[in-house]
Structure formats: C-alpha cells, structure tokens
Symmetry: C2
Subunit: 234 residues, 2 copies
DNA sequence: GTATGATTAAAACGATCGTTTGATTTGTTC
DNA sequence: GAACAAATCAAACGATCGTTTTAATCATAC
C-alpha cells in the first residue's frame, strides 16, 4: 500500500483494480460467464468505469491479456537472447524448451501477484476460438514464435520441420493443461499431489521424451528413424 | 432420411435435432455463449421444447455429453477387455495408450456424424471448471479411468505410480489439444497441414516418448533412472 | 476562489437471457 | 368419432446483460 502526496494510504488505481478483478473472474467463469457487474463489484468501482477506462468488455479482455503477455514474452525473448549469446549459435533442445516454457511455468508458480490466475485464464482461452481473441493473440505471439521455432529447427537438424511443429503443438497442449491445473482433468485422472515445485522437472522430462521420440513410421522421413538412446537428460 | 408408416419422409426426431444443434453450438461458443434461442432456431424446433424434453439448459448440456461419452467409454472398455483377454495379463504401454486414446482419435476423425464436433466440445469443456460439469464428468469417467490406470501401473512396474499419473495428465493435455485442433494454438505455432490421417501415428510416437522418458532427477525414485533404449515403437 | 479537465456516481436505456404459461395440435387407443 | 396423453406452439414472465447518459465530485491550474 503506497501513499499519495498528502500522506493518505491508497490502493491500486481504478484501472489496475479492474484488471485484477476481471483477470480472476474471466479465469473462473470465462468471458461470457463474467458480467460487467461482477467485475465492478469485485473491483469496488462504479459500473460505468470499465467502459470509461477501457471502452468495452472486449477491449478490457484484451487489456488483461496484453498486460501479462507483454511480460511473459519479454522474458522469453530475454532468455533466448542470453542463451544464443552465450552459446554463440545453436542451442540444445532442452535449452529451447526451457526458454519457452520456463517463463510460463514461473508465471504459473506466482500465486501472489496473479500470475497463476492469468495462466489459468490463458489455458482456457486457447480453447475458446472466439474471433476477436485469435486476432490479437497472433499479434502478441508473432515474434516469440518466430524466434523459438527457428531455434528449434536448428537444434534438431535431423527432424523434419513439419514433425517439429506437430510436436511443438503437442507440447503446448501438455504444458497448457499442466499449468492451468484443470480440475476436470484431475477428476478424470484421480486426485494427486500437485506440488508446484515438482511440476517443472516432471514436465520437462516428459516434453523432452516426446520431442526426441523416434519418428513414427511412414511420416515422410527419408532418413531412418532416430534410434539414439535417450539417457538421463541435461 | 427414413420414413414413417404413412410413407412420409421424416428427419431425426426433436430430441436428436436439439442434441445435434446444441453440440455444434456449445463447441463453437461455449455454454454461456450459446443461447436457447440459438439452439432452437438451428434445430428448427420451438423454443419451449428444450425445457420440455430436457428440463433445463444445464440438463441439455449434460445430455449432449452423456450421449457421446457413453459410446466413447464403451469402446474403451471393449478395447481393454479384448486386449487383456488376448494377452492373458499384462499389456504393453503402447497397447494401453492405444486403447485409451484410440477411440477418442477415431471419434475425432468422424466429421460426418458429429464426432469431431463433440471432441472439440470435450476439449474446451475440460478447461471450463464449472461445478455442475465436474460433477457428472467424474461419474462418466470413473470406470474407464480405474481400469486404464491399473493397466498402466502394471505395464510400467518400474515407474512410480505418482509419475505415471503425472504423465497421464500431460498426455491427456497433449491429446485434448491435438484433437480439438485449436485454432488459437495453430495461430501461435503457425498454420501447418493437419492431415487427420497423420495425427494418430505422430501423436502416438510423441506420447510414448514422453511416457517412457527418463525420470527427472530427485523425483523420489529410489531406483536408478530408466535408461532403456527407446527404439522404433510397436 | 474559479475555471477546466479528468474521474466517479446514480440511473436508465433497449436487448436478450432462461424459463413458464396456457392454448392448440398431434398421435394413439378404444 | 371420443377420449386421452404427448408434443408443439405463440406469447409472455421477471431478471440480467453491455452500454450510455447526465450530473456530481475530484484534482490541478491560474
């Protein structure tokens, strides 16, 4: 809690309170399941203030994503810049995965500043193909995706690019579900101890195993399947 | 198109038309984004008929799932019954995965009878943790989950059960995303040819690689890491 | 203090929501 | 055809939706 010039204690300003409240409510109830009145009530602001500060409910939704994705993808770019500078060129697959999924896992582990809440929201939004969502999502991700796919191609020169894209797709699904910690899935697979500290090593091992799995037969790979022994990683 | 006793051409009855229409609309717009009027208009039935035949919107949503999950999980149980009878006991990991994910992939490949539509709906519903959804989902899945987790434990006697549950969780995420063919993710990873026929072998290879990946360090596994060579599968 | 712009406040807008009502039509059984 | 239940219909219910309007309050300049 900071103070203004008169020494009065002040909380976050109106726009921040709205963003925080809607992040939580959108994650819990989805876009259509969250009403403006739910948001403004939780944020303790006037109903009209959302339209005043953001323009519309859709614009508010975008603003919620922009705030977090800017930070998330900045960390991802910093990571790949640092790694490529240190290694001087080609990265290892585990490095690429770490750079891409590491920041997401870190944000998901942040339960104090809403990072965890946002990653839950992000996970469920991937499955809501509303048009206005897809549009701004592509823009937010463009640079990061370009950098990391290129790095992954270089890290796995023997694997066809098409296969890499498929596996990147699979990996994003696994990570997204693991992060959003979906209750429905936990019900399906039975409850289990979901110690967040154990998530990253477990998930990384699984992803690397899948990424470096032998190629399927008849997948258009002219070279024989990769039969390299997968030993303990890292 | 069948005929009644008078020789008049008749389409599906009212309840079926409602189920088909709502399946499509729920998959596209979600539960809250789909109105009763959208459903009844597309099904070409009277607005009141949903409440007459199903009772409420929530009950209709459940009915949409019950119809498909009954069939899906019946196929899964038939598969594991057949395999266990043939093998006489312990199954291979690839068999367990095939029995569990195979029927889902087949249903997802069915674009003519709505199977594909439903699997998209199922994928997005996993991420919508509405309480009434979780409740009936657990019931629908109970038997199948029990059977397959048991089979997977037996198939991987050297892997701690907790690790298996984690990886099952990861796999369901990967499969769910791959199946629902999420547009947002395709945008993120860039468009790629999504030939449905290639999905199953690619996905299976990825899943097996992840499932049999070396255990992460410090995961509480007393036994040394599994360094078995992962050769071409099957 | 007073003017000025930014923000908050209360109230209402028309539209749409899920559901219910009561009448009408349809199908089946004597 | 009469009787009866099942199904469909048009119409309306109160509640809630996102947004807008107009006035009141606030902060900052002169």
């Amino acid at each position: 809690m900071s103070e203004n010039q008169l020494g009065h204690a002040v909380g976050p300003d109106t726009t921040t309170r709205i963003l925080d409240a809607s992040e939580l409510l959108f994650a819990e109830h989805g876009f259509d399941g969250t009403s403006m009145r739910m948001i403004t009530t939780r944020a303790a602001v006037n109903l009209a203030s959302v339209n005043y500060h953001f323009g519309s409910k859709e614009a508010l939704f975008q603003a919620v994503f922009h705030r977090r994705l800017l930070e998330l993808n900045r960390h991802r770019l910093e990571a790949i810049n640092r790694m490529e500078a240190e290694s001087g060129g080609v990265l290892k697959p585990s490095q690429v995965l770490d750079g891409f999924f590491g920041p997401a896992l870190e944000m998901a582990a942040d339960t104090e500043n809403g990072g965890h809440t946002f990653m839950r929201l992000l996970g469920r939004t991937y499955t809501e193909p509303a048009e206005f969502i897809r549009n701004f999502m592509a823009v937010e991700y463009a640079e990061v995706v370009e950098r990391y796919t290129t790095a992954l191609y270089a890290a796995l020169p023997d694997v066809p690019k098409a296969e890499i894209v498929w596996r990147l797709h699979f990996m994003m699904g696994a990570v997204s579900y693991a992060i959003s910690g979906i209750d429905a899935l936990a019900l399906v697979t039975g409850r289990f101890d979901d110690d967040p500290a154990q998530l990253k090593p477990r998930l990384t091992a699984f992803l690397l195993g899948g990424l470096r799995a032998p190629l399927p037969e008849g997948a258009g790979n002219s070279a024989p399947a990769d039969t390299t022994t997968t030993r303990r990683q890292k």
